[in-house]
């Protein structure tokens, strides 16, 4: 999936972008390049700088240093109303004194489009978001999800070069969030507009992005496809922020044969980090789904433990296995014929040494 897409031309480049507020850096040396038609998500916790980057692209914040290039041209000096971008806000921001039609037509009116053409385009957009016939309604008469769809239509009506979305789903109910994000992705694919989406919800990011930029405290931690970011996290932060991560505290036994011990149980790693010494501590990380009950596929690392917790989540069963000093989280699919292990049961778990990640902090 990641390498199959054809090479698309570069559309947006952030070069050495830095933003400081009163001397305090909020965005540090961001260097990013996005291709035309891509759906990029800026993902990170509150305060990581993702919204600041978005607002710099939109033109509401001026970069302290660095530049923003769109199709090769530096737009850092352009005011927002000349950048031809569409933006969707967390709080919908529909103009309260205008009905849906007039909201959607606003950008077209500013651009001087004649009334007949405006009407046709508005109809088109309303059909796209599935709200045909709602033209005469006012924002206060509609639900959050509907308002956000209108906001999307309004942003897309003037055929912008880029679409920016600032946590557009955070204010909505869980169910709507899931259906609306799929809708947004479908519309974006339809229209092929380069899109930058900001969120703190990693599930959202994973499910709809072409690529994800993971940010933490102003730094870009990793850029990659959802698969890459999840399965090959570059740093400890990425691994813990995106999905769940197990951490086992091991001690190096022998550097030559790459053996380590966790709670007295020894096994071999695929590789040791450079500079590892005998008896030194080492943090081993792995995803819960990489750990299996028993030894179904001949995994090379086998550990014994006691079931400390069983969470039956429906299709997935999450177990917590006590190895002694370490707790291991294990996800396994529900088996309609076999009930999950009981509490305090002694069990055997296994994983492939190649699935163990040793991450820099």
């Amino acid at each position: 999936m990641p390498e199959a897409a054809p090479r698309r031309p570069e559309f947006l480049r952030l070069a050495d972008l830095v933003k400081e507020f009163g001397g305090i850096p909020v965005v540090k040396d961001a260097n990013l390049a996005f291709n035309k038609g891509e759906f990029i998500t800026l993902l990170g916790p509150s305060g990581c700088g993702k919204t600041t980057i978005l607002r710099m692209i939109a033109g509401f914040e001026r970069p302290t240093r660095g530049s923003i290039l769109v199709e090769g041209k530096d737009i850092s000096a352009l005011p927002p109303n000349q950048r031809q971008i569409g933006m969707v806000f967390q709080a919908y921001a529909l103009f309260p004194n205008m009905n849906v039609e007039n909201n959607v037509a606003f950008g077209l009116k500013i651009a001087g489009m004649p009334a007949e053409q405006r009407r046709a385009r508005v109809e088109e957009m309303l059909k796209l978001i599935g709200l045909s016939g709602y033209g005469k309604r006012y924002p206060f008469e509609m639900s959050g999800g509907q308002q956000q769809r209108v906001a999307l239509a309004r942003a897309l009506a003037p055929k912008p070069r880029m679409l920016l979305l600032d946590e557009p789903l955070s204010a909505l109910d869980a169910k709507i969030r899931v259906s609306l994000r799929q809708e947004i992705r479908a519309i974006q694919r339809d229209l092929g507009v380069t899109t930058i989406f900001v969120t703190h919800d990693q599930e959202e990011a994973l499910s709809i992005s072409d690529r994800i930029v993971v940010l933490n405290a102003g730094n870009v931690e990793q850029v990659g496809t959802p698969f890459e970011v999840y399965n090959r996290p570059a740093t400890r932060f990425v691994a813990t922020f995106v999905g769940t991560l197990n951490t086992l505290n091991a001690t190096v036994l022998n550097v030559a044969d790459r053996s380590v011990a966790v709670d007295g149980q020894a096994f071999q790693l695929a590789a040791l980090p450079p500079g590892a010494a005998a008896n030194a501590p080492l943090a081993l990380t792995m995803r819960p789904e990489a750990v299996s009950l028993g030894k179904p596929n001949g995994q090379d690392v086998v550990l014994q433990g006691r079931v400390a917790e069983v969470s039956f989540l429906g299709s997935v069963i999450r177990l917590k296995v006590d190895l002694g000093q370490n707790m291991l989280s294990l996800d396994t699919f529900n088996d309609t014929h076999t009930p999950p292990p009981a509490l305090d049961q002694r069990i055997e778990v296994s994983l492939n040494s190649s699935d163990i990640l040793i991450l820099p902090n």
Partner: protein, 309 residues
């Protein structure tokens, strides 16, 4: 006096079943405590807010012998009284308009002009003070400033050789009074309109900008329309405020300026019109005018609140 503790304190009031009785059938069954709680308020309001105007209403239609008459209403058409009303309306409208426009600009400057944060706090406090600084001290302050021997008058004459009184300015006229009224109308506007300007979400202007709008386009299509109900409401409140003011004018010139409140004052003080019925008629007309302004305010406010949920 209060309901016993094992009765539920809150929740829906006990409502009698809705039958064909209509409104009567829907009166809540009141407990003694509740009645005693609101009774002082109701009694006070009736005695001091409701009865007096009603009484005056009746008095306006009474002649000196105590009989019903429409003569007082007719007498409202006397040239002196009509001109007094007219001048009052002019001054009130003028000071309301100037106050609203200037106040709006100052409020916009302070809230959306990206000025240092302390300016807003100072302006808010000052507006609170200045809007209460009406009446006699305000008149004194203006007399000290631009009265015939006022500091500014003398300064302009001695330093800049401009004699404002020779050029036609006179504090002790209607235009002077309007100028003084602005001193509390402007701050009152700032106080009233600030919440509405705060309510203009940043995202609206940002959204408008991303859609290509220049600032004047935002204000024309979104900003002013959203503020409009509040502006209109502020205008009517300002009008009613100036219309009923007495003390400032009195301190300025005694009763020699012919505004309607001073006419009424003279009448009450010394029965200048020799006809309490006429006084009541004047009072009635004043209430009608002020009420009209306030009704506009109420209508406009309810429509605005619909939008800005």
């Amino acid at each position: 006096m209060f309901p016993s503790s094992n009765e539920p304190l809150t929740g829906a009031t006990n409502v009698a079943p809705v039958g064909r009785g209509g409104w009567i059938g829907r009166l809540p069954r009141l407990r003694l405590g509740e009645v005693l709680g609101v009774a002082p308020f109701i009694i006070f309001a009736v005695m001091f807010l409701v009865l007096p105007p009603f009484y005056l209403f009746g008095l306006a239609f009474t002649d000196k012998a105590g009989q019903f008459t429409l003569q007082n209403i007719v007498d409202l058409g006397q040239p002196l009284i009509v001109s007094a009303f007219w001048i009052s309306i002019l001054i009130s409208a003028a000071s309301a308009l100037i106050g609203a426009v200037v106040g709006l600009f100052i409020a916009l400057a302070v809230i959306r002009g990206n000025l240092p944060g302390w300016i807003r706090a100072v302006v808010t406090t000052f507006s609170g003070v200045a809007s209460n600084f009406a009446g006699i001290p305000l008149a004194f302050a203006f007399i000290s400033t631009v009265g015939r021997l006022g500091i500014l008058t003398i300064l302009l004459r001695t330093v800049f050789h401009i004699d404002i009184y020779r050029s036609g300015f006179n504090l002790f006229t209607f235009s002077g009074l309007t100028l003084i009224y602005c001193y509390f109308q402007i701050p009152l506007t700032i106080l009233l309109i600030t919440p509405a300007i705060d309510g203009l979400k940043r995202e609206w202007s940002e959204a408008a900008e991303t859609l290509g709008a220049k600032p004047w386009q935002f204000w024309t299509y979104v900003g002013i329309p959203v503020l409009w109900p509040n502006l209109l409401g502020t205008l009517s409140l300002l009008f009613a405020n100036a219309f009923g003011a007495v003390a400032t004018a009195y301190a300025l010139t005694g009763t020699s300026i012919n505004i309607i409140t001073l006419q009424l004052y003279a009448q009450i003080r010394g029965d200048a019109l020799q006809n309490p019925g006429l006084g009541a008629a004047i009072a009635l007309a004043m209430v009608a005018i002020a009420a009209f302004a306030n009704v506009i305010y109420l209508i406009v406010r309810t429509r605005a609140e619909r939008w800005l949920k």
